[in-house]
Amino acid sequence: MKNLINLICLALLFSSCNESEIETYTQHVPTPLALEIPPLFADNILPPVIPINNPQTVEGVALGRKLFFDTILSGDNTQSCASCHSPETAFSDSNQFSTGIDGSLGGRNSMPIFNLAWNYDENFFWDGRTFSLESQALQPVINPIEMHNTWVLAVADLQNDTQYPNLFFEAFGTTTIDSVLVAKAIAQFERTLISANSRFDKHLLGEITLTTSELNGFNIFMDESKGDCFHCHGNANNPLWTDNKFHNNGLDAIFTDYGLGYITGDPADNGKFRSPSLRNLQFTAPYMHDGRFNTLEEVINHYSEGLVNSPTIDPLMKNVDDGGVQLSNSEKIDLKAFLLSLSDEEFTTNPNFQAP
């Protein structure tokens, strides 16, 4: 009897299959677009994070690129994402703090945008306050000191535009726009912003030879008693040049910005900020979460002589009583030369990353 019921059920399933074959679907299927993963990434680190509900597509990336450079998302149509994240500065800007549409000054330095699909913990912003690239993209549009819009108004503008409804249909199969789809498209574009063609990358691939100064600088970077940079900023086997984790690197004795501490509420996290990548430093000045250092010399001097003690300072900051590890002038020059070898000019001029 049980078997007979099974047979009937199966028969029903088959007949329903026949019916669905007759139905016609008009849903648009966007064209899948695999991320071009550089060999040094594929060989050495885990695959990029791509959410299952937001696969990369040709149409999605194109839409995200248009949105990224479009001032339509801001409250008065004067600013786009690219206003503070422009390609020539590795998708950062050259200001200590960026100015929003109302003239308000931000409180933190604009972060560069590259290789973000490899931020495995998916904590974004200097203080890690959002999880996932999609969630991150939702925030600047409605931040009152940034693009100062509301999503209701931004979406209405997009919906009334002559091009966007069709572009959303091409990318997501619907002409009904919402903030989630905007964020998904921008995140897809951001995941294509891959930087992997610096002098140091070419050195690792055997294409060029680094200078003696650059190689000396790399040794200082990797030496625990010298630079000791590698514990937080990667190494030759980690092309990200960041651990994407949060550290207090000895900037202040008293914090004016609690960083991660604001988010977790744990005093042990006060003064901690996410390690930025050391790629593209040539283009991303000023440096630190508050853009306090204008030059790489100032950054190196900070770690060498300028460390300040505080309750949450990272144990990897050494000789704090003396201000740091006391690098010699020639060591500083070499370290700077190595750091600059991580910059990737082609990334800043890549035609696929410019305004459409």
Partner: protein
């Protein structure tokens, strides 16, 4: 076309009946969960204790912990007849709150009585020259100038009186004898055996106090940072590591 459907239907039916028969078979494999737990002697340590709870070692250094990560490899179950099953190639234990890694479940473990469980702390010489993308992604590499490969442990914190603390970074890996001359620094751990069932959970305990006292009494005033290139410090870590692990609860 219709006959094809019938064949498919009957094949499925046959499979369904087959399933019913299988249910009567004896279950031979189960899941084994390994929980890594951490103690200061008998006092349990979690990431909630980081930067907060103070501990005193045999040298009377008062310390707090801010990070604990360590690598174990070749995690293997041994049977009384001498045969063995490798459960895991390697595992990076991380006590940190948000991205903690202190428990792993291995399914398909043969239900049996095992005479011991063994693993290597760190990597042996052969394994330490391989390229591991998961460990590279965690920036777990050990500098080439110190022999390369990977860290075995990063145990960090601060010691000294409140307000005047100094950092310690008890980092372990390959030992550098002299420029270009290196000595492997892993050690093997063997814990007692146990029996498994369909769902077994075992606890591997690390007593952090042992890193500072047995057999070498460790004074943080002498050995605190820059330990990676310090041959004596590396060998003392290896020796002290021998007594840090034990088998805890089995359920």
């Amino acid at each position: 076309m219709k006959s094809l459907k019938l064949i498919v239907a009957f094949t499925l039916l046959f499979l369904l009946t087959g399933c019913e028969e299988n249910e009567e078979n004896t279950i031979t494999h189960g899941s084994l969960t390994i929980n890594f737990s951490h103690y200061w002697d008998a006092e349990k340590i979690t990431s909630a204790d980081f930067n907060a709870t103070t501990y005193t070692n045999e040298s009377n250094n008062i310390l707090t912990i801010s990070q604990l990560r360590y690598l174990i490899s070749n995690i293997t179950l041994h049977k009384p007849d001498g045969s063995s099953i490798e459960l895991l190639d390697h595992y990076l234990v991380n006590l940190e709150g948000l991205s903690s890694n202190t428990s792993i479940t291995i399914s398909g473990t043969a239900i049996d009585t095992y005479s011991s469980l063994s693993f290597t702390f760190g990597f042996n010489e052969t394994d330490n020259v391989e390229n591991y993308i998961d460990l590279n992604s965690a920036s777990w590499n050990w500098p080439e100038m110190l022999g390369g490969g990977y860290h075995f442990m990063q145990f960090e914190g601060k010691y000294g009186a409140t307000g005047t603390e100094n950092p310690f970074a008890y980092h372990m890996g390959t030992a550098r004898v002299s420029t270009g001359v290196f000595e492997s620094n892993h050690f093997d751990v063997s814990l007692e055996g146990f029996s498994t069932n369909e769902n077994t959970t075992i606890e591997i305990k690390m007593n952090l106090e042992q890193w500072f006292e047995n057999p070498n009494t460790w004074d943080l005033n002498t050995y605190n940072t820059n330990l990676m290139s310090d041959y004596n410090a590396q060998k003392m870590m290896q020796q002290n590591g021998a007594s840090v692990f034990s088998l805890g609860e089995i359920n």
